[in-house]
Symmetry: none
Subunit: 436 residues, 2 copies
C-alpha cells in the first residue's frame, strides 16, 4: 500500500474539503441508521463468539506474521508465499481454495444466499517491494517486530486469516458469500496485476458487489480515493560514436535531457493533485563515446483520471518535441535519435463516494470501537474496482508501524490496538456481506 | 585510439595549416637521406625474409584478431586478455615477458647494443570501451570482421604480434633493444594509466628513446599531435522524496538535464578542434521516488590547451547555472540541489615535431609503399611521451574500419592493404631501432 495524503479529518469536525473535484462532506460519515445496523450485528451471539475468538487467537496472529514474513515474496515471485497461504486457507476451512492463473490465492466462504450470487471480496497482498536475497528474518523486541515486509502487507494477510478463523469459530452465516484473496502484484511494477485479473478475467469477476483491501498501516485509515498513475520507460536511441571524432552527431542523452527540462515546465493543478517525476535514468557506456542509448523511468499521478490523461498527452508531446529538436540541432548523418515509449505502469484512478453504504457502514464499524474513520487518497488494490464503479475501500491491517518499503520496516503488535482493529474490520465485512 | 582529425595532407602538396597554434609545414616530411636509409633497410636479406614472413602469416593475423577480440577486456578488467597476450609474446620468442604492476604485458627483443641501453617501445592497448557482458562474438562476412573492439585495438595487438614473428623469422639484429607492450587503460577512465606507469615508474622508464603506438585505423595515419582532454564526473544531489507526496521539491536529475542542455549550447571552434560529450549517466532508485542523486560523465577535448581550458570554464559555469536555476524553480524546503565536480581524466596535450627523425623516417617508411603519411592530432597512449618531450607517434594498426567505440565496429582485413601497412610499420620500427 502507498498511503499518500491525508485528505480529510472527518471526526465530526465542521470542515469541508474539495478533493479531486469531488466534495467530501464534513457531515458525519455514518448515519444513526448505520450505527443501529452495526449495533445489531455486534449483539448477535454468533458475532460475540467470533469477537471472543479473535482475542484468544492473538498469539497465533503474531506467529502467522513471523512465519509469512520469513517466506520471501519479491516482485513477480510470490509463489512460495502463495502456496503457504493457500494451505492456511484450507486449514481455516475455506472452500474452493485455489491459486489462480496469475498467482492469486482464492478461498470462498459460502453464505446463505443462492450459489453464484453477489459476493464480497476481502483481500491482502502477497508481494513485497524487496528484491530476491533480502534478509527477511524477523527480529522481535517486546511488542515490536522488525523485518522488511512485516507490515506491508503480511500484517494484512495475517489479519485476514484471523478473521476467517473467527467467522468459523462463531459459525456466522452471512447472506452473501465472502471471497478471501491473497493477491499478487500490488507493489511497483506489479501494477496491480492480481486484482486487475480478478476483476477482468477471474471466474468471480461478475459477482463482486464490494471490495475490501486490508492494507492500511494506521488504526483509523479508511482509503476511499484511488490515485491513478501512469509510468513510462522512455528509451532514447541514436547512432552513438566517438566523443571527439564524431562530435556534432545527435546525442540521445541530450534529447532525453531536453525532454526532462520540457516536462518540468508543464503546469499541473494542485487540486486535483497531479504530479510527475523523472525518477530513474541510465545510459551510455564509456566517457569517450557519444551514447547510443539513454533511458528514463517517469512517473505521473493524479487524483483525477481526466487530469492524468491530460498530463500524459502533454508529457509525450514534450518528449517528441525534444527528440525533434535534437535531430534538428545536430547531424543525423549516421542516424537520427528516436524514442521508444513503453508503458510500465497503469493504475486507474477512482473513488468510492463517502456517502456509499460501504464507507458509511465501515465508518460505523470503526465507531463501535470509538475510532473516527479518516478518509484518504492512496494507490492500492482498491483502485481497480473504484475505477469500475464497484464500491471499494482499503481498511487497516491491524498492526501500526513505520518505515514501509525500507529495510527498517517495523510494526507494533500490542494486543490492545490490534484487536480493536480486527474487531472493526470483522464488523465492517459482516455489514457489507448483508448480516443484520 | 581516438583518431580524430585529419590535419594536413602532406603528400608534397603546397599547403600549410596552423593547428592549435603550431604550424605544420607543407615541406616534404622526409628528406632524400631518409628515403635512402629506408631503401637500405628494405634491401637487407634479413628484412626481405621478415617481409615475406608477414605475407605468409596473414591468415594467422586474422585468427589472432578473432581470438583476442573474443576475450573480453572491459575497462579495468584487461586481465584475461593480458594473460593470453603474454603467452603469445612468449611463444613468439620475446625475452623477459611479464605482466607489470598495473597489468601491462611487456616483452623484450634484445638488440646488438649494450644491455640496459636506450630502447624503442612498440605498443598496442589491451582494453576496450565496452562494459562486461557485451557480446564480443566476431562475425565474418568476406573480408569484413564485425565485433565490438575488433579494430580498436585488437587489430593493433595482432599486428604487433605479426611484427614480432617477422623479426624472428628474418633473424633481424637491431642495434637497439625493442620493448613490445600490450598496455592497459588507454580508453576512457583508464586515463592512459598503463603508459603513464611505463614512463613514470616502470623499470624501463629511463631507457626509452622513441615510442610507437599501433592504434590508427587508417592506412596513411601518422599521429604526431596529442589532443588533450579533461573528464569530469558530475554528481548532482538533492533531498529526494516520494514522487507524489513530495512533488514540487527540487530534483537533481532535472538540474543535471538542464546542465546538459546548457552545455550543448556552447559554441566551440572547428579549428583547433574542440569538443564535448555528455557520455554516461545514472541515478535514481525507484520509479515512484524523486531521486536523491544523479550523475554524469562528461568528456571535453581540444587540440589546443588554451581552448580546452576555456571550454572547461564555460562548462563548469553552465553546470552551476543549471543547479541555481533548479533551486529557484522548485522548493528547497527539504534541502537544495548541489553538485560535486570530480576530475576523472586529464590527458596532457603534446606534440612530436614533424621534423623529428621519428616522424621523417616513418613517413619515408610509408613512402616505400607509395603511401603519403597524413599527420593528425589524436588522443592516444603517445600523448604521455609527447608531453615528456620523448619522440612518440601513433601508426596504423593495419586494418581499416569504422564505427569504433560502437557495437557496430568493423574492420576490413583484405590482405593487400593490411600487408602494405604491416610492411610500413616494420620498416619504421627498424629505422627507429637504429638499423641501417
Amino acid at each position: 500500500m502507498k498511503r499518500l495524503a491525508m485528505k480529510a479529518m472527518l471526526a465530526g469536525a465542521a470542515l469541508s474539503l474539495s478533493v479531486g473535484g469531488l466534495a467530501q462532506s464534513s457531515a458525519p460519515l455514518h448515519s444513526p441508521a448505520d450505527a443501529r445496523i452495526l449495533a445489531t450485528i455486534k449483539a448477535r451471539p454468533a458475532v460475540k463468539a467470533a469477537l471472543a475468538a479473535l482475542e484468544s487467537e492473538h498469539d497465533q496472529w503474531v506467529d502467522t506474521i513471523v512465519a509469512l514474513t520469513q517466506i520471501p515474496a519479491p516482485p513477480f515471485k510470490e509463489g512460495a508465499r502463495a502456496k503457504a497461504y493457500a494451505e492456511r486457507f484450507r486449514a481455516a476451512g475455506l472452500a474452493d481454495v485455489e491459486i489462480d492463473e496469475v498467482g492469486n490465492v482464492l478461498g470462498l466462504r459460502r453464505g446463505t444466499g443462492k450459489p453464484g450470487g453477489k459476493l464480497v471480496v476481502v483481500s491482502a497482498h502477497l508481494d513485497t517491494v524487496f528484491p530476491e536475497g533480502t534478509d527477511v528474518t524477523v527480529r522481535r523486541e517486546g511488542n515490536m517486530l522488525h523485518a522488511p515486509g512485516v507490515g506491508d502487507d503480511v500484517a494484512g494477510l495475517a489479519t485476514q486469516l484471523s478473521l476467517i478463523k473467527a467467522l468459523a469459530a462463531g459459525k456466522i452465516a452471512t447472506p452473501m458469500d465472502i471471497l478471501f484473496v491473497g493477491d499478487v502484484g500490488e507493489e511497483g511494477l506489479g501494477d496491480l496485476r492480481g486484482i486487475k485479473h480478478l476483476f477482468r478475467e477471474g471466474k468471480y469477476k461478475d459477482r463482486i458487489a464490494a471490495f475490501f483491501s486490508i492494507d492500511d498501516g494506521s488504526v483509523d485509515g479508511l482509503t476511499n480515493g484511488g490515485v491513478g498513475s501512469k509510468r513510462y520507460r522512455l528509451t532514447f536511441k541514436g547512432p552513438g560514436g566517438h566523443s571527439f571524432g564524431a562530435f556534432g552527431l545527435v546525442n540521445p542523452l541530450t534529447a532525453m535531457s531536453q525532454a526532462i527540462v520540457n516536462i518540468y515546465g508543464i503546469a499541473v493543478p494542485a487540486s486535483p493533485k497531479t504530479t510527475y517525476s523523472a525518477s530513474v535514468v541510465g545510459g551510455g557506456s564509456s566517457v569517450n563515446a557519444i551514447p547510443s542509448e539513454a533511458w528514463l523511468q517517469l512517473d505521473m499521478r493524479s487524483e483525477s483520471a481526466a487530469e492524468l490523461a491530460k498530463l500524459e498527452r502533454a508529457v509525450l508531446a514534450q518528449v517528441d518535441a525534444a527528440v525533434a529538436s535534437e535531430n534538428k540541432a545536430r547531424s543525423t548523418r549516421d542516424g537520427a535519435v528516436s524514442v521508444d515509449k513503453m508503458l510500465i505502469g497503469d493504475r486507474p484512478a477512482g473513488m468510492t463516494g463517502a456517502d456509499t453504504a460501504l464507507v458509511r457502514q465501515t465508518a460505523a464499524a470503526y465507531a463501535t470501537e470509538g475510532v473516527a474513520a479518516r478518509l484518504s487518497f492512496s494507490s492500492t488494490d482498491a483502485n481497480v474496482p473504484m475505477n469500475l464503479g464497484i464500491p471499494a475501500i482499503t481498511i487497516s491491517r491491524a498492526a501500526t508501524g513505520g518505515r514501509g518499503h525500507s529495510l527498517d520496516e517495523w510494526i507494533d503488535i500490542s494486543p490492545r490496538e490490534s484487536l480493536k482493529v480486527k474487531r472493526m474490520d470483522l464488523l465492517a465485512i459482516l455489514a457489507a456481506a448483508g448480516l443484520r
